[in-house]
């Protein structure tokens, strides 16, 4: 019984998803065979592109990136003087060896368009055999981090292609940067959720305590998601629309206005800023 149940289960989802994909395609442009024949799909790239956007809008629009991004390493913060004397606090982001395309995922092979990028070269023995095998398949150097950038179209990306930061980002561009924040441990409600403090004197006994966490007998429980003390930090966060102040080509360094998550040495993911209606389609 268990065998029967487990066997058919993994099979249907890919089948159904591919069939639904084709159906969606037929309804939009009547190109149902394009996914079955990748060569023809390549020939019809230009007329297909608009169609591809439509499909992605239906399937996923949340995790789409505005363009291909790179991974970087936070180096620290410093001051930058603008010519008119304004002081700009900037975070310096460096790049270690890497930012190589390791895999190009397309609608035909994986059901979505994405570019997988590797970052930070390590020794062979630092990686597991499956990781090494994946990288050796395209002849790439062993790299610690692999991340995917989901794109509308993956034309022009080849495996083992080096992404150059100078080409991708220019001074004055807006970018989104995501990374892991500094872990702050177990924190109370005041620091974690910006709660108000109680009076410290005048006979008050609730100094930094939480206060009420809900009504009484009705509902007779604490609602899910109630903001309470707990672990703070150490989570992934994305800071949006940061401006690139300076690109140093010699040192291969980006200077980004404002603070970035984590301490120096932290892994960062830098992508062009997502602006709805401009480079991300409106829903």
């Amino acid at each position: 019984m268990a065998l029967l149940f487990s066997q058919p289960y993994p099979c249907p989802p890919p089948l159904s998803s591919s069939s639904s994909c084709c159906r969606r395609n037929t309804t939009t442009l009547l190109l149902s065979s394009s996914f079955l024949q990748p060569i023809r799909a390549h020939q019809l790239v230009a007329p297909l592109r608009k169609n591809a956007i439509n499909i992605n809008m239906v399937v996923v629009s949340m995790s789409l990136e505005a363009g291909i991004g790179v991974m970087g390493t936070k180096l620290g913060m410093m001051t930058y003087f603008e010519p008119d004397g304004k002081v700009v606090p900037v975070t310096v982001v460096g790049f270690r060896e890497g930012n190589i395309v390791t895999q190009v995922k397309s609608e035909a092979t994986d059901g979505y368009n994405a570019v997988q990028v590797g970052y930070r070269r390590v020794r062979d023995k630092k990686l597991t055999k499956p990781e090494l095998g994946h990288l050796n398949k395209i002849g790439a150097i062993p790299m610690r981090h692999l991340q995917e950038f989901r794109l509308v179209s993956v034309d022009g990306f080849l495996p083992n292609q080096r992404l150059s930061v100078d080409d991708l980002f220019k001074e004055g561009d807006l970018i989104d940067v995501s990374g892991t924040t500094i872990g702050k441990g177990f924190q109370g409600g005041i620091k974690r959720h910006n709660f108000k403090r109680g009076p410290m004197t005048h006979g008050s006994k609730s100094h930094r305590a939480l206060g009420s966490i809900g009504a009484g007998t009705t509902p007779g429980r604490v609602y899910k998601g109630k903001k309470m003390p707990g672990r703070m930090g150490g989570t992934k966060t994305k800071i949006r629309k940061l401006k690139i102040v300076k690109v140093d080509n010699q040192l291969r360094v980006l200077m980004i206005k404002g603070a970035l998550p984590g301490k120096p040495g932290n892994l960062l993911r830098i992508t062009p800023a997502k602006i709805v209606g401009k480079n991300i389609p409106k829903n």
Binding site: T73, L75, G76, M78, R123, R252
Partner: protein, 146 residues
Amino acid sequence: MTTLGHPEKTDSLDESSSVSDVPLRIKFKRPDKTARHIMQILDKEAVEEVREQREIPDIQPGYIVQLKVVVPENKRRLSTLKGIVIARRNAGLHTTFRMRRMVAGVGVESVFPLYSPNIKEMKVIDKRKVRRAKLYYLRDRMNALK
């Protein structure tokens, strides 16, 4: 596309390893140390660039200096300020000094970044002999070293 470590070195190692089958061990530096190194280079470069453009005298606590400062709020007018330096904070490019002067009988303290492009000219007028790094005691004196 690397900043940390030595990209040329690793590249050459890469080629040699592809030529000979014996894999060479590539040295990997600790990221935090190399990160600090790059920050130091950036800071030093920025300071040198400013020093090339403008002459910046050695400003120490106890010096009486005259500054010509562009005030962006006041239609970018050039104003001359004269006062005594009571503190200096060394932080590379972000080095600042604190200047105290009397304006209409009221003591005014202002902090200036040493390498700010707003400071057009810096002149040391007098050097007072002081025995402190921070001359905050001048705040309590009515006639501060004058």
